[in-house]
Symmetry: C2
Subunit: 427 residues, 2 copies
Amino acid sequence: MALKSFVEVLPDSHFPLENLPFGIFKPTQQVGEGATTEPRPGVAIGDFVLDLSVIASAGLFNGPNLNNSDCFSQTSLNKFLSMGRPAWKEARSTIQKLLSADEPTLRDNASLREKSILPMNKVEMLLPTVIGDYTDFFSSMHHAKNCGIIFRGPENPIVPHWFHLPIAYHGRASSIVISGTDIIRPRGQGRPVGNSPPYFGPSVKLDFELEMAAVVGPGNELGKPVDVNEAADHIFGLVLMNDWSARDIQAWEYVPLGPFLGKSFGTTISPWIVTLDALEPFACDAPKQEPHPLPYLTEKKSKNYDISLEVVRIKPTEQEHSSVVTKSNFNHLYWTLTQQLAHHTINGCNLRPGDLLGTGTISGPEPESMGCLLELTWNGKKPLSLNGSTRKFLEDGDEVVITGYCKGNGYKVGFGTCSGKVVPAPI
Amino acid sequence: MALKSFVEVLPDSHFPLENLPFGIFKPTQQVGEGATTEPRPGVAIGDFVLDLSVIASAGLFNGPNLNNSDCFSQTSLNKFLSMGRPAWKEARSTIQKLLSADEPTLRDNASLREKSILPMNKVEMLLPTVIGDYTDFFSSMHHAKNCGIIFRGPENPIVPHWFHLPIAYHGRASSIVISGTDIIRPRGQGRPVGNSPPYFGPSVKLDFELEMAAVVGPGNELGKPVDVNEAADHIFGLVLMNDWSARDIQAWEYVPLGPFLGKSFGTTISPWIVTLDALEPFACDAPKQEPHPLPYLTEKKSKNYDISLEVVRIKPTEQEHSSVVTKSNFNHLYWTLTQQLAHHTINGCNLRPGDLLGTGTISGPEPESMGCLLELTWNGKKPLSLNGSTRKFLEDGDEVVITGYCKGNGYKVGFGTCSGKVVPAPI
Ligand SMILES: [Ca+2]
Ligand SMILES: [Ca+2]
Ligand SMILES: [Mg+2]
Ligand SMILES: [Mg+2]
Ligand code: NI
């Protein structure tokens, strides 16, 4: 039974009144008198964007947390994120009420409606936060196992500490880009053959990684770990993420300090942050963990979310249609978001609002649910068929589109898409 | 033959007229009418700080790059760094002239002198830049070799790709702190003994790493690598760095994605950025590289700097004096700063002004020149004697002080100190 908005929301939309994800947009053209094209916060509703800066200026955020706050006249969501769940819940309930079919305030105010509700095709989406630091975890057991077999063989493919802690590495924040941004094929070194010098040139093993990422809300002080049972209060919501990876560069460089240039050329995220509050109806039990985690990782209730990561489409330039490459689900993750965050801070490391915590590639147990080409083609040994073409790894012109949603009763809470097209390396 | 300033500069000072390093400070008390305690750019001269915001307001930066710029009324150096070497050289020559003994402009203007020249003990130093991303390299061959022997044994201690590329990992930007900040001993997991669960508690192998770090000036666009022969134009200068490391946490977590919580609890840098222009008289040839690096890493002229990293002192709480623990030199680095920067961007990764590129631990060839306790005590097997106490790793209360300078004819171009005291882990 879907909630009803006076704004049209098609049955298959990712953005009904139950969702209300937050992002940063700018109008592609000036709308009305005095309007600017500055970046500002918005919420998605159907095929429209509600301009929160206009709603705030109109004095419609009148609860105790948001009344008089300038958090919606910022060019990023960082300030809003720093305010914590009470402010987020207040914003959500105010917006849900304002947009509902039986609430006249906005519905019957033609001038305000026109100023505040913009068609999505008239706006450009930007990165929703200033990302101080970006961390990428490695929390799917199936992914860890497949990579282990491919790189080190079938004996003990998963390193023993994997089951004791959510392994992660620091990623590159500067090269995180918004969905729709072209990805320039990286150049770099690959392992030499025999006594030759190393390979140098455009990566020949360019891959995607199907991931999601948590966006940090309030941070923590340096030296003050976050308790695992309070970690959810530090997470605003989730986005889709494609952690583009150059497997040849990565394989040659990564011992002993981890992935560097094999990853840092670009990471794509989807523009709309779906809040944990919107995801709550889709919470499910996390997998049982054996061995039991240490006390600092032991949760009173260990939660995952049932998010269908339904399609990773690869659309080669020459083809009109795209092919479904894999179907996975967020609930395949072994380590929960809250365990990741508690682990990240246990040494005293400080998180800041807007930081991004990637889940790692979300592979499921079946061959059709593997989250990257490295696994799907078994490092290029079993090419994938795409409507007649085949792929071992990505080719120039290929567009990779990730999408994901939760299936409610009569509605979807979705993430939109996270897409990027591979363009040739510089000569 | 030292240059002469009208400001007193003691013969042993790190900050004569030849140096003029840049930093961000705030007065610890309000000085004079209308003065604020906002952070602002300054330059060190002897035991004093020249307030660049005051000099700029007085209209004394009148060259083509800085005239009318607001770069010295910012709370970080990022804007100034983004302006590039012409602006840096102009600032340097203006300041050198203004402070020289035979230049009356500032010398004979008592009111301006009083407003613009503050004793160092009346200011607090802050992080000089907003650090978007922090990368740590691994460029000392001696360090790589010692770590390899300790962790993997004497056969092939250095991984083969080490000689083909400057290995690095992404570090944590949020926990970079300014010299003088206490370092809270991190808690975390260590390798289990037998079938027990992993160790959990305060790190028992807390270490320092003697490093320097390059501060990035103008960045590069995503997808546009920087040519190795132009890389120096993207480096503003150098600071001292202590990459605190918890060896027990690091050893248990780092395969296959590299160091994470073993490093991210804190990294200390010195406050004054010594410019490449000030270091130029101390340039020396970099070590010969065999095998020859690939063309993108081949420099017309491969340059190091002769910087004595003379003392790493550890001062236990109970002792009055500190002990010299190691003496090293920046010129032990195998990979140059410019090779590091060119490699970092070869995949298209974008750098931004203020980014930090750590060199990695700077160990020399002799046992007395090893840059961390892991090497100096051979992973705790050979405790170090400190005026009667001994140390395998750092204990609570220990203060670690790094210093470094170049020796000129009658003067030093120095970096001041990079210090931090270890305080107990939270209970
Ligand atoms: Ca990943
Ligand atoms: Ca280091
Ligand atoms: Mg990436
Ligand atoms: Mg560190
Ligand atoms: Ni059990």
